[in-house]
Symmetry: C2
Subunit: 199 residues, 2 copies
Amino acid sequence: MAVSPAIEALKEALKALPGVGPKNAQRMAFHLMERNRDGAMKIADALTHALATVTTCQRCNTFCETDICEICSSSKRDRELLCVVETPADLQAIEQVGAYRGLYFVLMGKLSPLEGVGPDSLAFKRLNETVANNEIKEVVIATNITAEGETTADYTQQMLEPFNLKITRLARGVPVGGELEYLDQRTLVTAFKERRSID
Amino acid sequence: MAVSPAIEALKEALKALPGVGPKNAQRMAFHLMERNRDGAMKIADALTHALATVTTCQRCNTFCETDICEICSSSKRDRELLCVVETPADLQAIEQVGAYRGLYFVLMGKLSPLEGVGPDSLAFKRLNETVANNEIKEVVIATNITAEGETTADYTQQMLEPFNLKITRLARGVPVGGELEYLDQRTLVTAFKERRSID
């Protein structure tokens, strides 16, 4: 016997959240209805507002609420540098460390044949146009160092080869604070392969 | 630099979900905006609908969309049996196994001095009225077998003592399929203490 059709519908809807299965969705639905109706209202309002206002930057494809995002319209950015990332979350992580002053391009995902995500599902066509129509000298490919991220990086690199640009990748190796003893094997192998001479 | 104020607000709002911290809230917000806007819309609609329609049964205090819930208004239920549970989720778990045919009373929480939940925060007053005004012969206390659940059970028992009813608790012991070797110590101690004679 269903407690309430509205709660059943809510449980079903909450399963759209990443990493949330039936048990967790039920816990969330009951929690919100039982003791945080204000919070539930805020989530509904925030979702509705975000759906209505959040669009993607026409230049770099990241989330923004205007045609062109703050970074793309800033005069302080190096317009000859373009950093290609998978998602707005990656862009935000890079912005937070403040080590990069160029522009971005967000692919909105990664190539994943297993999940049916091919090149047409990502923003490669727009990346091509961006590179063709702007004064870019170097493209930094900053996809994740995962199987899918690497595939995406390789595809991006091949696509950009005809432009005769400088194409770079993020350095791979031992993370800062990393102890060799506890490092995974592949990182250690990479760190050896890509070792650099001390000037 | 914030990607979008609307997304920041959404991340903040999503933290109202149980077990969701800042990192997870960001992941959820980006996921919904990036690749499941339909899902986001469904969550917003389901929340709004549930907030508008879900109320609590005036008799047993569980979630329902009418004054009296389906169970309380059913003529097939044993009206002399009342099962006290912490939450609608517990009620649903008991209903799913179909081993109980009486009525329920939902406290909507458990006593938790550490979290500031005292007897006045739960529905004890209404439980008292329900027991006083109905032909109940036995109350089954089915709170969780946790420290807070046990405290809640003790309080319930003391509150109901003046009514001279039969008061029972769920049997505690080795769970079905449980292997003694891997059982926690407290369960094993309880199983010994509450061992029963074979008739």
